[in-house]
Symmetry: D2
Subunit: 392 residues, 4 copies
Amino acid sequence: MLNGERKIARPLRWAMVGGGRTANVGYKHRQGAMRDNTAFQLVAGAFDIDAARGKDFGTNLGVDPDRCYPDYQTMFREEAKRPDGIEVVTVATPNSTHYEITKAALNAGLHVICEKPLFFEVAQGEEIKALAEARNKIVGVTYGFSGSQLMLQMREMVANGDLGEIRMVELQYTHGFNATDVGDKISEGQKWRVDPKIAGPSFVLGDLSTHTFYMSELICPQLKVRQVLCDRQSFIPSRAPLEDNAYVLIRYENGAVGRLWASSVNAGCMNGHRIRIIGSKASIEFSDHQPNELLYEVQGQPIQKMIRAMPYLYDACNADERLGALHAEGLIESWANIYLKFAIAIDAKNRGDEATLKNLVYPDIDAGIEGIRWVQNCVKSANAGGVWVDFN
Amino acid sequence: MLNGERKIARPLRWAMVGGGRTANVGYKHRQGAMRDNTAFQLVAGAFDIDAARGKDFGTNLGVDPDRCYPDYQTMFREEAKRPDGIEVVTVATPNSTHYEITKAALNAGLHVICEKPLFFEVAQGEEIKALAEARNKIVGVTYGFSGSQLMLQMREMVANGDLGEIRMVELQYTHGFNATDVGDKISEGQKWRVDPKIAGPSFVLGDLSTHTFYMSELICPQLKVRQVLCDRQSFIPSRAPLEDNAYVLIRYENGAVGRLWASSVNAGCMNGHRIRIIGSKASIEFSDHQPNELLYEVQGQPIQKMIRAMPYLYDACNADERLGALHAEGLIESWANIYLKFAIAIDAKNRGDEATLKNLVYPDIDAGIEGIRWVQNCVKSANAGGVWVDFN
Amino acid sequence: MLNGERKIARPLRWAMVGGGRTANVGYKHRQGAMRDNTAFQLVAGAFDIDAARGKDFGTNLGVDPDRCYPDYQTMFREEAKRPDGIEVVTVATPNSTHYEITKAALNAGLHVICEKPLFFEVAQGEEIKALAEARNKIVGVTYGFSGSQLMLQMREMVANGDLGEIRMVELQYTHGFNATDVGDKISEGQKWRVDPKIAGPSFVLGDLSTHTFYMSELICPQLKVRQVLCDRQSFIPSRAPLEDNAYVLIRYENGAVGRLWASSVNAGCMNGHRIRIIGSKASIEFSDHQPNELLYEVQGQPIQKMIRAMPYLYDACNADERLGALHAEGLIESWANIYLKFAIAIDAKNRGDEATLKNLVYPDIDAGIEGIRWVQNCVKSANAGGVWVDFN
Amino acid sequence: MLNGERKIARPLRWAMVGGGRTANVGYKHRQGAMRDNTAFQLVAGAFDIDAARGKDFGTNLGVDPDRCYPDYQTMFREEAKRPDGIEVVTVATPNSTHYEITKAALNAGLHVICEKPLFFEVAQGEEIKALAEARNKIVGVTYGFSGSQLMLQMREMVANGDLGEIRMVELQYTHGFNATDVGDKISEGQKWRVDPKIAGPSFVLGDLSTHTFYMSELICPQLKVRQVLCDRQSFIPSRAPLEDNAYVLIRYENGAVGRLWASSVNAGCMNGHRIRIIGSKASIEFSDHQPNELLYEVQGQPIQKMIRAMPYLYDACNADERLGALHAEGLIESWANIYLKFAIAIDAKNRGDEATLKNLVYPDIDAGIEGIRWVQNCVKSANAGGVWVDFN
């Protein structure tokens, strides 16, 4: 059980690019990173494209005003001069900038934590992976929903055969907040998401389903995608060619199959993620609207509702427990679990502790690359008219 | 509100083919038909392929032993001789016999109520439709789940624009009772369902999804299927070529899209039908595990849970109400609603009351034919490797 | 599994007093009684205080117009003259008439099925019990919610120690339909319920909580009430002295305790009955809003949701199963189970089959008397200012 | 919307007494206090009765080892000598020590945040209140569940008449973790809770129901308790005279009534708090098992499920929003909201800003005293045999 005691010798000196006052996601990064104050300390930032606003914001967070920079280039350059300069940077900027900032950070000798979707092309991912290896650095990807310890419970249940052989994977990440185009016009965070120049080749596939796809890989690492078929729509025509709704069918190598539904026009839907893994004996189901529960449905037995923190869960799950039973955890605990593992990975990397790195389960550069591959293949299928494409 | 008072001048003289002691579904037909004793009276039957068992069974139901027949041919022939002979017959036998029994019944001057899937080929459906018209008879199809008055609530909400323009149709009818092949070997009712000679070209597509597809047509009559794509699996290999799991993607003519999932290997799933209709403003969702509720989710408003029998529902819904609020209805009320409409249709047909027939919403021969068409197209797509096929 | 086959040699000739066109509950009696047409046949009735309306109504139900009587006295007298006269009568009239009609029916040689609350005083119940015994007749009470087979599952679980020693009984039967006094003024069925001359000494205690109290006795027959304390309110002042809300605390002889809440002013509440039985090891919980489920919560284990019809339920539960899994049952199946047991009890009584009678679990005259006792003691406590009173 | 930007000029220098490695609740205090690092900084502590363990623990949290003290007396004395000494201390120790530590802290010039139940006697509360006023200091009480912004939504709905006139208050805080006495023997945190010398005059009334009672006062400040009646039990006999289960009936001055159920032997119950407020028009209901939802049930309308963060909630609610819709918050956000208000109160007190203090809604010394009063009156009633006692 986690209680805030340090897991690494000292907190890492950490900075953010983006994630300023108007960015909703920035708070999640900071809360995840600084949850226990023993893994990361926020010491610098280029928080905002508006430099003055970014400086004011950083100051209000308690960052030294002198270390609130107008842009990432300045930050990387100036921090490199300090004996107490930053060691790791989070990239929480629009999609189209991830690649260049990540590359610059690695070249500046920093570990990197980057928002999803990581980049636009698998080749970029491979290049950055090689660079990170050459620089002996970690690149982590903030699939922020995947940190719930119930994901690990699901992973353990699958690994232990509690479900029998896995036959189906049912994935959904949908909401209805873009049912109209109002946000496209007035929300800073939404505007760029439907602009292909900034968002890349997809809207909901990249913005939403990369999370869900990673969670399916986390839970069922043995399943390898063989083919996908994607049909995508732009119900708000001005979003075309970017989709606001996408259906994907999946064929895995071993004969298992799956479906994924990503949507921002599922009007009225408020339960976001829904994941169901179906085996020959039983199914498990998770919804992030109730992140403290897991349904375990064994065919022919009463439906079981497993509750977070209970001793009947696997040790690998309860290792990330913080609050104990009856005490609801939420999304920030999920982010905190991921950020803590980033810290442990960075510390291990710094110390050359490959054993720790090998056993640590977290969204690393490979997970980021798989997310790019997912989007690329889905878009390829959709653009070809919704046909089966080999996953590669 | 229905309270059992007669809707037609006198109850119809009714018989069953099949639906005997070992047939689970027979009880549902009888309960639906005789719910109020003012629409149908069970006066004869060829209940069982085992004639002695069928006679004993019918007698125990209160049928005159002399009118418990060894087979449908004898029944049709002998009843035709009686002044008080049967007027309508229900066909509750395995799929492969529906066509011949229905045809024989029509030729014997009877109205027919038949189990789904109606027949195997659209051409058969068209032939029977012509025959029924020539004989001035009704053919109804027991899509037994579609009689819930909340289906009519959904239909009214769609018609009245409460959801905005319909964009997506999400259909699911799944369970896990065939997750293993135990039932295939020991259950009479399951054995023939996985035998192509008796079940026809599909297992779950015909046995399950015809219900759900009809419900989608009932709720959204304005949507016309343009193309379907089906990927089907036989997770129990001995079931091949019949599928125990099927995924279908749907493209409607107006740009709406949909998905359907039919499965009998969704291990542990106990909630059967799930229907969600998504519009540009709101969604509605129904699950037959809780047939007394309807979710109405307007984007940007609190989620609304509508409860059966409440005055805020549309009149067309509450017209089929029986018990009043706080008093749960179940599947039999759904069957009873359908059977009552069959009776009203038959009575109107007998009286030549075309106005009543025109306005009556119930699963008629056209609904049966559409169900055949659905299965045919899905199987065609699946057999071609899971490709888009035009729906015709 | 019940499939409609006869449980007694022939259906009983049955009549109703009350339950006419304007009475919501009449339909439930008829549907419960005639569910299978092999237990009861409706052959006569004094359905309505408005004789012409009652005759029209009965005729519409298929009753011979000559056997639609203007009042119960006429019916009892005339039917006694017929060789095919009625054998059993249901009393579905306002509370204040139960005693005299039941007495008259027994004296007319009829078995009686009576609405709750049976009478107003325990002494009346004892008198009628003696009369019924003298006449060799059954008096049943329609605690209509208690017939769900999941009640028997709960009873078996308690008896088998699945919960450990029972510590607490949590009872609730509340709704909000009388949150205002509109119904008191315009609804026939509600007007008399708040008139002490007709309703008796209580409103919700008698109208609602007698059901729930019986269910607690059915589930936990070993618990004997030692003391009760009741605080009751009339939130609509014109209802005083009758309560529209009542809290009861219960002390059982063995140290167990309980609570009951009856209310018709629980604004917006749509889930009616809620029963939770808490033992030293586990709890079970039932809500009639979802009558196909039972929660089984073993301390330290995943919460179990048991689903009606599944083989893991006790045989005593599944003996009353009709539809099978995935097929929702509702309130009418509950009534049908009770009515079928009334028929079996009457048939056994007629045949002098005491062994069957002894083992048959159904709401008999003793259950009716206990309901009267419950209301009397609660009212006594409340009228004394909400103090503990010995239960006798 | 809260995003971590400072609400006061600089973070307060904060210490803890108790809350060490073996104390589950300590983590909640730290996470609540340090959520944003702009309100509190943990700079010292007397974390553990085992001084060495406490020092090791504090060091692992990043506290200067020299400021990890063996006991609170030493800490208060030594910190007072430092120019950067602590300003506020949290008391997270067993109940019997709250009074003396709080008194010592105030006398040492510190603001105090204390665990519930505050003390054992109202007189102690009044004394400390006077002392705090004399010293110009804040005393806050960590009713940790009350910080959810949905509490404020409920408060606003009541204040705005959305429910009509409040008639009933239904309160429950129950679990089953003490269904057996295993924990009484082996758990440090449980041992003292059933020891009257340390726990005080009650177990679950003080440990659980003080939270719930405060929440009812927060939501319905206009309701004043007139009388209570409490029946309490010790199902595990060794716990007597302390109760592991308690039922309370409440009469408010204006005619409203209520119930409270506190229990640690509600076997299998995993949903902790349940609060339902019932008005003449509508009810609202909250369960902390799903702290992101609120049921709003208007009589005669569809049940509404309100979701945290949505714009339809009152501004006073959304002012404490952090994550935005679709992103689950949990218990720590509730603690963080309370701690942030403690910080704002302390800062205002330091600045003599009475206007801010007057309008700030948080669990202050008065809330603590009311909690003591609640327990005292309930115990008085129970000890007198479960009789009505005037609330004073």
